[in-house]
């Protein structure tokens, strides 16, 4: 219950903050541009395949921008100590903040369903891949937000938190590029560790249980690290 109270507080903070709308504006503008670009090409296909790829790309930058204030700002303002001294566990704090930002991301994704609706209005997209692509987008974004939450917990400086988050997400998005130059198990690990590679099947309409497990692993790992990071503030 306390978790959901914290989540609600965070979500309301986003919804009443013009800064969050700036990020949502950039997100919808990029997605809209790439949607239009996709259907303006010769012989367009009624598919979400094109613009969902752009959403994953933009989330590399927007996820840390959304999460950078979650802990960093509380540390800067000194309110984190207040929060930690209140009768809530570290897990509840981390999970509450995470669910708060995740609900905003879910709203952002929901908004882009408008583009899918336009495709249904004028064409007949295959519904299975539309659903699986959105499932993939949700998991991808959830993983990116977990990374951002962790970097926000490391420092009081929001900019540093955002840059660290972008760096980690870029790294997690390009590991597969190094795979061809290697071989054996190293190539396999590099290929399978990529956030982008794991999204490609869902983007085309295939939901592989290993991809879902991978995203859930990334989410839990970075939430775990966030909890440990918040916990470390009590060690002093």
């Amino acid at each position: 219950m306390k978790t959901f109270l914290i989540a609600r507080r965070e979500a309301l903070a986003y919804l009443t903050s013009p800064g969050a709308y700036d990020i949502v504006f950039v997100f919808t503008a990029i997605t809209g541009y790439l949607f239009i670009d996709g259907i303006s090409r010769p012989f367009p296909e009624a598919t979400v395949n094109r613009y969902v790829g752009s959403i994953t790309f933009s989330m590399v930058f927007l996820a840390p921008a959304l999460t950078m204030r979650l802990f960093a700002e509380e540390r800067r303002l000194g309110t984190l100590d207040l929060l930690l001294s209140s009768p809530v566990s570290d897990w509840q704090v981390v999970l509450g903040k995470y669910l708060g930002v995740l609900s905003l991301y879910a709203l952002m994704l929901l908004a882009t369903v408008f583009y899918a609706a336009l495709l249904y209005w004028f064409g007949t997209p295959d519904s299975g891949p539309v659903a699986s692509a959105y499932l993939g987008l949700f998991l991808y974004g959830a993983a990116a937000l977990a990374v951002g939450l962790w970097t926000s917990s490391l420092t009081a400086n929001q900019t540093v938190a955002a840059i660290l988050g972008v760096g980690i997400l870029v790294l997690l998005s390009i590991t597969q590029l190094a795979a061809p130059a290697t071989g054996g198990w190293v190539a396999t690990v590099l290929e399978e560790a990529s956030l982008v590679t794991r999204f490609s099947d869902m983007r085309q309409g295939v939901v592989d249980i290993s991809d879902v497990v991978y995203y859930l692993s990334v989410i839990t790992l970075f939430l775990f690290l966030s909890v440990r990071s918040v916990e470390s503030k009590r060690w002093v």
């Binding site: 013009p18 239009i36 259907i39 408008f114 299975g128 540093v160 249980i209 290993s210 440990r228």
Partner: protein, 542 residues
């Protein structure tokens, strides 16, 4: 920012001693650079390894300095907590690693596409599972074309997903790569490939190769490539000639006496197809998997009849497509197999092609033998002869088993006139069989052989041949029904799952006005809505 300022800033950020921060930073950079260098540049592997080791050393120095500097009770407590967290993290990582390893080894996938385009057919999986030799596939795609033609792009995506699925199912025994013949013309020339796009399947072990053009039905073409490259023997289907049968070399798409499309379908199903004239040959060749008799007109000689019967006794498979106009000698021969092909045309007012009761339409509910027909849509039979059994199956001592393929509706009847609308007094009434498969150890006219000498031959009979002609082969599921029956006679799994997944391209067709509308909506609605909400939030904050 000077290095000193940078270290000072990092020191403030991470609350650590300057030397420890510098050593940690240098160590991290050296470790990453060394690891990347040694992995990506084989020529600098040893240099990269040394650099990575130096990085590890620097990180250790950083750690030691941190420990040396902090020996207060608070620091000791922090170290204890830190060690505790490190152990927890290691355990946590191990659990996640195991979970991911196990999930990668399980094969739980949900193909959500309408046509199940990413699900390999059982036949393809079986071939991949049974690969004895390593097969390498080289896909030749011109990237320049993909940028201007979305169909090429979709074809490449489909090809890549299929080949990666092949590799996933047969790791170590199947590998693939993509090559742009424009940027690597030498390789294409060496491999002797001059048509794009397509995939060359090669096996060094079997020494075989096969070029599969990446056409609309990629999986079927690749399955053939796998079979040939892996050295699997291709079964041979012979097509009887010499009696005015459908012509294997007649490729006219509207020809109702052409058989070229059916032959192409057989070749796509990985069969070799060859004509056979029993007036020139004394017997059906030993390597015949199936003998097709597509719509013969002139009489069957006694010698030919013996050759056919002898082939069936050897355990062969014969598919006879007999028109109402076929010579009586053919009727007499299939009668030995227990199948009666009656006179006249089946008129089916219960289910027919619109306006023409002389072309019965077989809907899915009229099929039997689900292992052959379960995935089929309707089929149509222009000019169908009534098919039935010669006698009660229990009175056929050489009969082992039989399968009815489909039947006409109970209101159908057989008339001498294809344009008849009502049955005459002498006309037979339905339902009639459309096709039947008999498995026998000998003709009805002979006593059953000893068990040791008995071979089960398979005789398939349809009361129509035109349904498999060029004109009607592509109609509805006609082609699939014909090919599935051949698969069955050849002892193969019906390949309808492989055939039924052409490349799907759902075009978005917009008029100029619609495109403008979609552009405006796409551009404006969400960003403007966001700005309005931002303004409201800003106003409320103020």
């Amino acid at each position: 920012m000077t290095p000193r300022n940078l270290i000072r800033t990092l020191t403030r950020l991470f609350d650590t001693a300057p030397f420890a921060v510098a050593a940690a930073g240098v160590g991290l950079v050296a470790l990453v650079t060394g690891a990347v260098t040694s992995v990506l540049i084989p020529a600098l592997e040893s240099t990269g390894t040394w650099l990575a080791l130096a990085g590890v050393g620097s990180l250790l120095l950083s750690l030691l300095d941190t420990l040396r500097r902090s020996n207060s009770p608070t620091a000791r407590r922090r170290r204890r907590y830190g060690l505790n967290v490190a152990l927890m993290l290691a355990t946590f990582l191990a659990i996640l690693g195991v979970a991911n390893f196990l999930s990668l080894r399980t094969d739980v996938r949900f193909d959500t596409t309408f046509s199940q385009r990413f699900t390999l057919a059982e036949q393809t999986r079986t071939v991949l599972d049974d690969l004895d030799h390593k097969v390498e596939a080289t896909a030749f795609f011109v990237e320049r074309f993909e940028d201007v033609d979305p169909l090429q792009s979709a074809l490449r995506d489909r090809t890549e997903s299929l080949l990666s699925e092949f590799e996933r199912i047969a790791p170590g025994r199947f590998a693939y790569r993509f090559v742009d013949p424009e940027t690597d013309p030498v390789l294409a020339s060496e491999k002797g490939v001059d048509r794009y796009p397509g995939v060359l399947f090669e096996s060094t072990g079997a020494g075989a190769r096969y070029f599969a053009p990446a056409a609309s039905n990629v999986e079927q073409a690749f399955l053939t490539g796998l079979l040939v490259a892996s050295g699997s023997d291709q079964k041979t289907v012979y097509v009887l000639t010499g009696h005015g049968e459908l012509a294997v070399d007649d490729a006219g798409v509207t020809s109702n006496r052409g058989f070229a499309l059916a032959v192409e379908g057989l070749r796509n199903d990985s069969y070799q197809v060859a004509p056979l004239n029993l007036q020139a040959e004394e017997a059906v060749p030993e390597d015949a998997a199936v003998l097709l008799i597509p719509s013969p007109m002139t009489a069957l000689t006694e010698g030919e009849q013996q050759a056919l019967s002898s082939y069936l006794k050897r355990g062969g498979g014969v598919l006879a497509l007999l028109e109402p106009e076929a010579d009586d000698s053919w009727r007499a021969w299939v009668l030995e197999g227990g199948v009666s092909v009656g006179d006249g045309y089946v008129i089916d007012s219960g289910s027919h092609v619109a306006g023409t009761p002389g072309i019965p339409l077989i809907t899915p509910s009229q099929y039997a033998a689900p292992y052959i027909t379960s995935q089929l849509d309707s089929t149509l039979f222009p000019g169908l002869a009534p098919v039935g059994l010669f006698t009660d199956p229990q009175l056929m001592p050489t009969l082992v088993d039989l399968d009815f393929l489909a039947a006409t509706t109970p209101v159908s009847f057989a008339s001498a006139q294809i344009s008849a609308t009502a049955p005459g007094n002498d006309d037979l009434t339905g339902p009639f069989l459309v096709g039947v498969i008999m498995r026998m150890v000998g003709p009805l006219t002979e006593p059953p052989p000893d068990a040791a000498d008995a071979n089960v031959g398979t005789l398939g009979v349809f009361g129509d041949g035109e349904f498999a002609s060029n004109r009607f082969f592509p109609a509805l599921s006609n082609g699939d029904l014909f090919l599935n029956v051949v698969n069955e006679l050849a002892g193969d799994v019906p390949l309808v799952q492989v055939r039924a997944k052409p490349l799907e391209f759902r075009a978005l067709v917009l008029t100029g006005e619609q495109l403008t509308l979609v552009r405006l909506l796409g551009w404006l609605v969400l960003p403007v809505l966001t700005l309005v909400l931002a303004a409201v939030a800003w106003g409320r904050t103020r």
